[in-house]
């Protein structure tokens, strides 16, 4: 998927809650590229321009799993705290 497409997709999947800041999208992609989590290849986009299409690498997939786990742990902890609070009123 190319950069524009990624932004659109994130918006879709999150029910338009996450509006990707266009300014930070590409630098973020660059950073991930540098760490080897995604790879890029050049293709002609629908607009007949050359654009870079990104895909996950094996180590990127591993990183995703790690991040997901971390997020779930945080979410659980958050829930625990909030439920307790509301219970205390």
């Amino acid at each position: 998927m190319h950069g524009w497409g990624i932004g659109v997709r994130i918006g879709q999947l999150s029910g338009e809650v996450f509006q990707v800041n266009q300014g930070s999208l590409y630098p973020a992609l660059m950073r991930m590229l540098r760490r080897g989590w995604i790879r890029a290849e050049w293709r002609v986009s629908e607009k007949r321009r050359k654009a870079r299409y990104y895909s996950l690498t094996a180590s990127g997939r591993r990183q995703l799993t790690r991040e997901t786990e971390t997020w779930e742990r945080v979410a659980q902890a958050m829930n625990g705290v909030l439920r307790t609070r509301s219970a205390e009123g």
């Binding site: 266009q22 590409y26 590229l33 607009k47 321009r49 050359k50 690498t57």
Partner: protein, 895 residues
């Protein structure tokens, strides 16, 4: 996992490095594509295309900034910035051509001179000798003398355990008499172990064997590459051919490779090698003419070998009293360079000082420039450059300056090495093959880097400290001239001064030494004397009973040439020729312990020698023809010998003998006393000297050490002709050659030199060091003067406001002048003080270069201080005059 990442990252980074424009275009394409999608979306929502574009750009938030963020995220920062800094630096430097030129020239001179001297140090002192495993080669000698007698050498060889090979070498100058003109070639007689010991295989043929070092089998010779080329045109059929030397045919059995040299000291000119025959010298312990070389066994140290030599000579000394003083083993390299090591290192240190001064000057320039660029830096800082970036920029500029200076310096060094090789005295060892090799290149790189640190650090630190607010304010003239800054500048100039003073003291001491050398009395009149060696070996006049007659005819013939006011002959010319010493016995004195007899230089002269040479006869008379004809046993001694042996009385009529009176003396009567003169080396102490008449005496051939009587030494086969002329003495050569050829066609006339040249030869080495040291000292003083001038000028410019106020308040122009000059002189004084202390400490190391002058010579120190004071005064006075001319009104008004 790390390797995976590397696999991804590396191509990325390389790509960014090498295909910059492509990468930039890709980034552009990507963002354009994104924009187009955004525009499409907005248009889809009902905006006009123009509006959509504007909104899309707004949403993205500035294309350039996003690009920069992407570039940052890409992580090529460090290198990117480096390249950019380099480009900026080059542009900044080229915008200031005056400053850049001065800095580059200063650096190039400093680095170039240092590299040139280092090339010499490397080529002479550091480079290993051109033999196999040269660090294992040693010279066996006595502590006080270098030459060994035949029987002693043989005992060294048989009694030692530390060496895997021991060999000997002896001077040999064969007369080559094939072809048009007879020629004397420089060569060596070698024992069979020497060439194999060196581990260099012959280019053609072979080296000689042990069998060939015996009488009858010894007429073989190994040629050097040069002789082979010159006389045989490099034809390989030379091996096996015959060469007529000393009247005998020698078979050429081998040729050594190009560039092979032996011996590396003492007989550096030897170009052919033949076997050393010791058959007649197996028991000779007095004719010390051999030099002994050895190769250490693996695992044996030089110290162990040295100890063994001491033991061996001790044993031999007891067995044969008076023949073997304490022996020692010395590394071959030390014999080659030992004499010049100290002097070369002094030169190296001196040029190092010059480099330090040059760096200080450039650091100064950099600081001044940094001060003027404060506004620029402040602006950049305000625009977002971090301090570390500013420092990095400053350093990059310094590096570029240093590298460029180093590159130009390399050119300077190349020229300098050429110059040095031209000027260097002929006896500077290992001069040939002095090139800029990888070691030197490494050195240049190293000191360029070091220089960068030295002069780049100060401005970099200044950049780091830059005040970001002050300089930008309206009306600001840059940050105040803080005391710290003044101190740094003062320190720089002060240390320049100290270094320059130390160099001047060194140069001054060497200069006075040189003058002291020249001041020594030669003892003879050097100007207008022509000399040449005539060697009879192998000619028809080589027979004992024909030699003296030959020399008489030649001397007569030469003395009749037009322009010649006197001619004579001597066995060895003072200063230039060989120097033999014989022990002697005085009549009527008690026997002396063997080995402790007095020794004197041994000369054989023909009548008229002293008048030809201009040597004053203090008492008595010269030999006459009648003396020679009657074979009278007479001797002439010099003042020193007379004073030593017959103090307070006239030696005339006294008798001495070279043969031991106990075994049958041959007494010679003293008939004259000459004034002392230079003998072997110009600055050597004068020793006893005895002159014997050139008698033709029958007897066995006077090979050194052979068991012949002393008298046969008075009939040498070679003599040096001397002739005093009214005009230019060198013009005599052709006429002399004609005279000699008329008497004997095969007799070569060689080693032609005038006494003036022989004397000047003695000064070649001291003059070389003097020239270099003085050159460096003057360079240093010039640089230091420029340094002071620069500081003072800057100070005046900075303080013109202050000076204007003072003047307006009533101070006289003289006070302004005095203010600046006083400041300058104070700097100079402090620096000078440090310099004097430094000079006192370091001048000790100059001892090997000094003569007649102590390292703390007050005259020199005083002279240098006065000179530098004048220089400092001048350097401060010029800007000070500008200060005095400051118009108070304009100064106060200026921004």
């Amino acid at each position: 996992m790390f390797w995976e990442r590397l696999r991804h990252i590396l191509p990325l980074r390389l790509r960014t490095l090498f295909r910059r424009s492509t990468v930039e275009r890709e980034l552009d394409d990507e963002l354009q594509d994104h924009l187009e999608h955004q525009v499409a979306q907005f248009v889809g929502r009902g905006m006009s295309p123009g509006q959509a574009r504007t909104e899309a750009l707004k949403a993205l938030g500035g294309v350039e900034r996003r690009k920069e963020e992407c570039r940052d995220a890409r992580g090529m920062n460090a290198f990117d910035h480096l390249v950019r800094d380099a480009r900026l630096a080059v542009r900044a430097l080229s915008r200031n051509p005056g400053y850049t030129t001065v800095a580059l020239v200063t650096l190039a001179l400093g680095i170039g001179a240092t590299t040139a001297i280092f090339t010499v140090v490397n080529g002479v002192l550091l480079r290993p000798l051109d033999y196999q495993d040269p660090s294992r080669l040693v010279v066996l000698k006595y502590r006080q003398s270098s030459t060994v007698a035949g029987a002693n050498f043989l005992d060294f060889r048989s009694q030692s355990r530390s060496f895997e090979a021991v060999g000997a070498a002896e001077w040999w100058t064969p007369n080559v008499s094939d072809g048009v003109r007879p020629e004397e070639l420089p060569g060596l007689h070698l024992s069979s172990d020497v060439l194999p010991m060196l581990g260099v295989a012959p280019l053609l043929g072979r080296v000689f064997t042990e069998e060939e070092t015996h009488e009858g089998r010894n007429q073989v010779v190994v040629l050097s590459y040069e002789i082979w080329q010159r006389r045989f045109g490099g034809d390989s059929s030379a091996v096996g051919a015959s060469l007529r030397m000393d009247g005998e045919p020698y078979q050429i059995i081998g040729v050594m490779p190009k560039g092979f040299r032996f011996a590396p000291f003492w007989a550096t000119g030897a170009r052919l090698w033949a076997p050393l025959v010791l058959d007649h010298r197996l028991t000779d312990r007095t004719g010390a003419s051999l030099r002994v070389f050895a190769r250490l066994k693996p695992g044996v140290t030089v110290e162990a070998a040295d100890r063994e030599m001491a033991l061996i000579t001790d044993r031999l000394g007891k067995e044969y009293p008076g023949t073997n003083p304490e022996g020692t083993a010395v590394p071959l390299m030390q014999m080659v360079v030992g004499d010049v090591r100290d002097a070369l290192l002094v030169l190296f240190a001196a040029v190092g000082f010059v480099l330090l001064i040059a760096c200080a000057n450039v650091a100064h320039l950099q600081l001044l420039r940094a001060a003027t660029r404060e506004r620029e830096f402040a602006l950049r800082g305000a625009l977002g450059a971090s301090r570390s970036r500013l420092v990095q920029q400053s350093l990059v500029e310094s590096v570029i300056l240093a590298v460029s200076g180093g590159a130009i310096g390399l050119l300077v060094a190349w020229g300098g090495v050429r110059l040095l090789t031209e000027l260097a005295p002929a006896n500077l060892p290992r001069l040939e093959g002095l090139t800029i090799d990888p070691v030197v290149l490494l050195f240049v790189g190293g000191i360029s880097l070091g220089a960068t640190l030295l002069f780049g650090l100060a401005p970099a630190v200044a950049a780091a400290r830059v005040n970001l607010h002050e300089p930008l304010k309206e009306g600001s003239r840059g940050s105040a001239d803080s005391p710290r800054k003044r101190r740094v500048r003062g320190l720089l100039v002060g240390s320049e001064f100290a270094l320059a003073l130390m160099l001047l003291v060194g140069a001054g001491l060497v200069l006075r030494s040189f003058a002291a050398r020249r001041g020594l009395d030669a003892g003879f009149q050097a100007d207008g004397v022509f000399s040449a060696v005539i060697a009879l070996r192998g000619t028809s006049h080589a027979d004992r009973d024909r030699r003296a007659g030959f020399f008489e005819q030649v001397v007569d013939g030469v003395s009749q040439l037009p322009g010649v006011t006197g001619a004579s002959a001597i066995n060895h010319l003072p200063l230039h020729g060989d120097n033999w010493q014989f022990r002697f016995f005085v009549e009527g004195r008690p026997a002396v312990e063997p080995g402790k007899e007095p020794r004197a230089y041994f000369r054989v002269t023909r009548p008229g020698y002293f008048s030809t040479m201009g040597i004053t006869m203090l008492a008595g008379r010269d030999f006459t023809r009648d003396d020679l004809a009657s074979r009278a046993h007479l001797v002439i001694v010099n003042q020193s010998l007379a004073r030593q042996q017959w103090p307070g009385e006239s030696p005339l009529g006294r008798r001495l003998s070279v043969d031991n009176p106990a075994t049958g003396a041959d007494w010679f009567t003293v008939i004259g006393v000459t004034k002392d003169g230079r003998q072997a080396g110009w600055i050597d102490d004068v020793r006893g000297e005895m002159y014997f008449p050139n008698l033709d005496a029958p007897g066995p051939d006077d090979l050194v050490g052979s068991q012949s009587s002393f008298v046969s030494f008075l009939n040498p086969v070679n003599m040096t002709l001397v002739a005093r002329t009214r005009g230019e003495s060198m013009d005599l050569l052709k006429s002399v050659q004609a005279v000699v050829a008329a008497v004997d066609r095969d007799a070569p006339v060689t080693d032609v030199i005038t006494m003036r040249q022989a004397v000047d030869e003695q000064f070649a080495e001291p003059r070389f060091y003097l020239t270099l040291l003085t050159g460096f000292a003057l360079l240093a003083v010039t640089l230091a003067a420029i340094g002071i001038y620069g500081v003072m000028s800057y100070s005046v410019a900075r303080r013109s406001q202050e000076i204007g106020i003072r003047l307006a308040l009533g101070a006289g122009t003289r006070d302004a002048f005095g203010l600046i000059v006083g400041q300058g002189m104070r700097l100079a004084a402090l620096g000078g003080l440090a310099g004097i202390i430094g000079a006192l400490i370091l001048s000790r190391y100059l001892r090997s270069l000094l003569f007649g002058v102590g390292p703390a010579d007050p005259v020199t120190f005083l002279g240098v201080v006065v000179l530098l004071a004048v220089v400092a005064l001048a350097a401060a006075a010029i800007p000070a005059r500008r200060a005095a001319r400051v118009n108070p009104l304009t100064a106060l008004r200026s921004d």
